[in-house]
Amino acid sequence: MNRTVRYKSSVEPVYTDGRDIDTEVATLTGEAADQEASGAADKHLKHEMQVWQQLPMPQPGDPTYYNVPMLNEPVWEWAIPTYYYVGGLTGAALVLSAAAQTGNSRGREELIRRCHWIGLIGASVSGGLLIYDLGMPSRFFNMLRVFRPTSVMNMGAWILAGTGAMAFLALTLRGRKNWRGKTGEIAGYLAGIFGAGLATYTGVLTANTAVPVWQASRKILPVLFGTSAMSSVGALFELTVENSEERRLTKIFGTAGQIAEFAASIAMEKQTSVVPRVGRPLRRGLSGFLWRTAMVLTAGGLVLGLIPKPTKRRRLAAGIAGTLGSALMRASVEHLGTASARDARASFQQQRAGYGAAELANRSNQ
């Protein structure tokens, strides 16, 4: 059992497991007996406390409990937004390769093969990132011991597993003879279907929460994530692939993605500003800065890519701007959620404005 020290600077520091139970006379068998106190609890309040200078006057129309957040904030750190980016890239690349399987354009075999590699590596990296972020990484497979449609995360685990498996089959079997080749061909199409799920379900995952800004944007987040996934494929190919025959396809796909991503960002700003307090993290603070920067980078990448007679340098600049814009967009969505969860008024005003459960009742009355 880990122990922590209390009253460190006093004459008599105390070493404790946070319970002060004398195990010579008592046993640790309670429900939470295996919770360990290593001192991290001392930092469990992430927001700043303000000592009163005067009795806080609750505003009758706008009360909160000493501005303490009502919700607990997301515990997800850098690995989850990174996963959103990598998973999106993986999924969108597999959608494109499945479409390419139907055509007969020049350079398509190289493109398909490259996409299947992206699929396999991307799915593996995604899995790694997800496992890394778990509180108990050794229990990752508990997600695959059940099939629970009510849990978007459970569905996501299955989608990711399916994507990885299909990308692997497509990569190893496609182009071989007889039934093997056919299996590979089918696996390629299935990888495209799973990939479309992988690139968009993360939007559903984020939207299906009590965090006000995420819940308010639930009709647009999956679109934002899916379109951003398309632009990230385009940007990655601009950056890393020399073969212009391959890039002709990814350029169209990526440019369409960037235009749609930009439109979706604007739609998200609109949807979240229905209740102004809910949309506040898009305009203020670190989250607002990240959000704006992501939009500027996406727009910049789009414009650079559309200027006629591309030079290599301009192409690389467009690729970098597009990649950063897409990755930063996921990071900003994560920060939006944290900022929103910290703001009790966002939840209160959203629900008072009729966007809590009342929204559902109004809909069924119509």
């Binding site: 309670g30 939470a32 106190a37 609750p58 409990y65 007969n104 011991r145 459960a357």
Partner: protein
């Protein structure tokens, strides 16, 4: 299956002694949360969390209450707890099935199954459940599942000296609670009302198994005015995802049709 059990927390009876917090910590052998001075009235617990399963809120209001003789000032105390929602956001979102509905109708996290993904935390409309950094799992009130199995009252209700926290069969609690509201109205406390006592009261959660009697807006107690289990709205997001996936497929096919020179 046993009858559905729950708590009725009558905040007008709460004296802010925190015996419930202590009893909960002791029975469940929860470690401390660190010792900090919050500066917020007598509340240094601040919020429910991974190792805080009962939390007493202390509200100092410049608002008169005619059962208190503080003049233009009144105190409100309220012992907050997991609501064990009839439709629980955490339970629905749990990807491992670690969170289950027990035979008492309570919502229970199996610590030996939870893998600490953190999805329940953002799915709870009340900010109850949280993950502990040290052991990486999500924790919350169990409605003293171990005590219920032995026909004992949960520790907090047992320790409450004023019966502000009442434990029992949900049907009986609801009856008792509406009688109490009528009684308070008769005695000159027209502000009293029940929070989350039934599905009609709170459609978003379809009623709380641990419900409250309050005398001010829910926000004053840091409770949401119209909470909703996120799963009730998830269909919108899935429809959007379907549309986005179809759009992606169309864009990809379009790119192949118009982008490639025929070989």
């Amino acid at each position: 299956m046993a009858a559905t059990k729950g708590f009725f927390t009558d905040t007008t009876l709460c004296i802010g002694c925190k015996a419930c917090e202590v009893a909960c910590k002791q029975w469940n052998q929860l470690p401390d949360d660190g010792f900090l001075f919050s500066g917020m009235s007598y509340d240094n617990t601040v919020h429910l969390g991974g190792s805080t399963w009962r939390h007493v809120a202390f509200i100092e209001r410049p608002v008169p209450l005619n059962t208190q003789d503080g003049g233009a000032f009144s105190w409100l105390f309220s012992s907050d707890v997991c609501k064990h929602c009839a439709r629980a956001g955490c339970l629905e979102s749990c990807p491992t099935g670690a969170i289950i509905r027990t035979e008492y109708g309570s919502v229970y996290v199996q610590p030996d199954v939870c893998n600490g993904c953190g999805y329940c935390i953002v799915s709870c409309p009340f900010g109850v459940i949280n993950r502990r950094e040290e052991d990486g799992r999500a924790w919350k009130c169990t409605l003293c599942y171990d005590r219920l199995r032995d026909d004992l009252t949960p520790a907090c209700a047992k320790a409450c000296p004023t019966e502000s926290i009442q434990f029992g069969d949900l049907d009986q609690l609801r009856e008792r609670a509406s009688e109490r509201v009528e009684q308070l109205h008769r005695r000159g406390m027209p502000e009293a009302y029940l929070y989350g006592a039934s599905a009609e009261d709170q459609p978003g959660t379809e009623g709380l198994n641990a419900f409250f009697l309050l005398v001010d807006k829910p926000e004053v107690y840091n409770l949401p005015p119209d909470p909703v289990a996120p799963g009730k709205k998830v269909k919108d997001a899935w429809v959007a995802a379907g549309a986005a996936a179809a759009g992606m497929a169309l864009a990809a096919i379009g790119a192949v049709l118009f982008g490639g020179e025929r070989a």
